[in-house]
Symmetry: C2
Subunit: 462 residues, 2 copies
């Protein structure tokens, strides 16, 4: 069908004024009188709707007047300027076709609905202002991330979702099986006989693509992943979902400084891209969801991120222990209250905390020369706390094996990973960005359920 | 680290000639003599490697000479033109640092390895020419697809991976569970008690995001998905994987013609993008993997795709039934041999076959006025057969419900989907592109296991 989009009309209005246009969209409101009526129409391509004026000279005037919120219309008419009105222009309709009416029980009427209620109608909520904005911005963030890495010649790697090994034991895993749960086959010694399962062994959904990603960084130098990951954690919070997307770049011939440069560049690129490509949506969030949002994001764009070691950060925090629920001392993991204090009060900008005690970080992180800390970094941003976690990886075979033994990890489970340290090992680093956390950060939305189209959480898979 | 990439040197050689450069990469070959040696170095950023000359004036000459294939080096030296040699230039090294040696049992020596063997070392095969080419092109195809849709303002939707409903019963599904398989809880009547499972119900891995995608097309007009899908089919072929990625665009206020235009535009965009951005890789495939590849792809770029109804296609095929293993008659599903005959022999270009008998297509496809066929389309391309399948969707509530009843589908399982036909229904259409099939098509690779970094197939999840 040859329809103009509402976006195209708003972006190039001079080209359309006083010309005939044809648009298709859904009714946001419909006010009729005996002689004429006004429909506010949204076609999903642009945050702002367009007003349509229709008249009783049309044969189907009564049908149009009856149209409920949500009905689909195709409108042909002339775009005319309305300098005295709130909206810049409207369509004086010559023809309005009711493509699909909307039943009287349409749940989205003009009044404001709570996010809680809208979660119960996940298939309809993208038709509301808030969720139009959230899910368009989500899409733009995803593309900005791809663009950032692809323009820098990073290779996008699809790491596997179904795995037979657990990367770092991070959280509980979902099992994947084709066995009949009622009659699962057993081996002679009474264990589940996974040789009869689809893959011939026990399999789970991945919690991270990092280790696989490293194998590709050792071939392509710079790679990134962008795919779903899963956690079967029984935590019912505003920040945890069972299914979420992660971005995990990995760079070879690179150290922790390179890693931080990459993370800072990526965050700034994404923020800039979204501010440029969704100004209407971002203004909406700033007005109705999170008042300080634009100031905060512009602040990030215009600042050089701070860098502080964990040891120095702990000194600062210890001096302020009276302000915290959890008191800080060297060796402890930082809580969100500490992270936010550092980035919001001390540095007043994003800050990388580096070189954490090895005990609170993963086995694959590079041991520093002090023997106590590892070359890890967390990126803390105002309003959220940690948004990115990364590290330089241990590239020395002997040190990696020693650390694995300390932690009771079996060498034979990581042969492929150790091979990378036997055949052309090089310093390399990477980080993980939780995509949904990034969307929350850029939109100001407070609940992860409201930035995922169909969220999966404990006891919820509708 | 401040290293120049080999890609940068090849793309802007004038800027680097006779200047000092520093590169990091992995040894592809190393030929030494008493006084000097040649290393061919690949840094993963560019298909072509770069030659490095080193001399016995270096303190670590012996160490460099000993370097096995696969070792990681950092080289500092001067880029000099070599007009009389095969390669256009080389680096006269001033300093070579052995970043990581390669153990003597490195499996990738200079000889050619079979794809079968390389599958057993999936973590190392991206270091070979063929798989460097495959996985760089895979990455470029993925980005080209995003670019095509994003430049047209399509919204990228992440449809869920874990689902509690089966889209269209397409193939066998994997179950996702946190229940203890050895002691799965039972209800009073002896069934598995899924109320105790993580989501409180039985859940599976998705086989298609289409139905969820439609809900977003009814809000944003034009959307696409790009995510993993899963089939637990017990078929051990060169074209089936248990885990693969799909692209599923969905467009509202659009019919089957619009759908075909979109598919044709997308395929051409992707081919053009890859030919422009990976000419070295594409020449390699054309020379060593699939001789006719470039001719075929250029043929697609320069032709307008054909369009023929299933009914007319069957007439053509019936006249040639003597050539087929499976004889064709109206009502039967087309096999690859028929598809390839149509596109390769009859049309000699890609062709859309449209309007299939409803019995061989899915319940959601729009019934044509003849009452016998549906507004479906398959896109057939030379060398492969079907690469895309799509349809206009049934947007009429009563007709959709009638079709579901014919097929024994329960209305209550599809309430959200039927809602789309009750609230502002509009003509809409979409298609599915199997991403791996697309990668095979553009590279000429014959086995799906060789276009997925870590493929998952029956009895294989390593």
């Amino acid at each position: 069908m040859d329809l103009t989009t509402v976006r195209e009309i708003f972006k190039n209005k001079e080209a359309y004024l006083d010309k005939e246009v044809q648009v298709g969209g859904w009714v946001r409101s419909n006010r009729g009188s005996k002689a004429f009526g006004f429909v506010v129409l949204n076609d999903g391509t642009y945050f702002e709707p367009i007003q349509v004026v229709y008249h009783d000279t049309m044969d189907n005037f009564a049908d149009i007047s009856k149209c409920n919120v949500g009905a689909a219309l195709i409108v042909r008419g002339t775009l005319v300027a309305t300098p005295e009105a709130k909206q810049p222009f409207e369509i004086q309709a010559e023809e309005v076709t009711v493509e699909g009416p909307s039943a009287p029980d349409y749940p989205l009427q003009k009044k404001r609905h709570s996010f809680e209620y809208l979660r119960t109608i996940a298939h309809l909520r993208p038709r509301t202002n808030t969720f139009q904005a959230v899910f368009r911005v989500r899409s733009l963030i995803a593309y900005a991330i791809h663009q950032y890495f692809q323009e820098r010649q990073f290779v996008y790697v699809h790491t596997p979702l179904i795995t037979s090994s657990d990367c770092e034991g991070a959280g509980e895993m979902f099992q994947v099986t084709t066995l009949d749960l009622k009659n699962a086959p057993l081996t002679e010694d009474g264990a589940i006989d996974y040789s009869q399962d689809f893959f011939g062994k026990e399999t789970n959904l991945t919690v991270s693509g990092q280790l696989n990603g490293e194998t590709y960084a050792m071939a392509f130098r710079n790679i990134y992943t962008f795919g779903p990951t899963f956690r079967a954690e029984n935590s019912n919070t505003t920040r945890h979902a069972a299914e979420f997307w992660m971005i995990e770049p990995e760079i070879a011939f690179a150290d922790l400084d390179d890693d931080m440069d990459l993370a800072e560049g990526m965050l700034k690129h994404v923020i800039r891209y979204v501010l440029e490509n969704a100004p209407e949506e971002m203004n909406f969030f700033n007005s109705f969801v999170d008042k300080g949002l634009l100031d905060r994001l512009n602040g990030v764009l215009n600042s050089e991120f701070g860098r502080v070691t964990y040891t120095d950060a702990v000194k600062i925090l210890e001096e302020n222990n009276h302000r915290f629920e959890y008191k800080v001392s060297w060796g402890c993991d930082l809580q969100t209250e500490h992270e936010r204090f550092l980035t919001e009060e001390v540095f007043k900008r994003p800050v990388f905390v580096t070189d954490y005690p090895k005990e609170i970080k993963a086995f694959y992180m590079k041991l520093n020369e002090d023997g106590k800390t590892v070359a890890a970094m967390d990126c803390l941003v105002p309003g959220i706390g940690e948004i990115i976690g990364g590290s330089q990886r241990e590239d020395n075979y002997d040190k990696l094996v020693a650390r694995m033994e300390e932690l009771g990890l079996k060498k034979e489970d990581y042969e492929f990973y150790l091979d990378l340290r036997r055949f052309g090992s090089t310093r390399h680093a990477g980080f993980g960005l939780g995509f949904e956390r990034c969307v929350m950060y850029l939109t100001g939305m407070g609940n992860i359920r409201d930035v995922i189209p169909f969220p999966r959480t404990v006891k919820n898979c509708d």
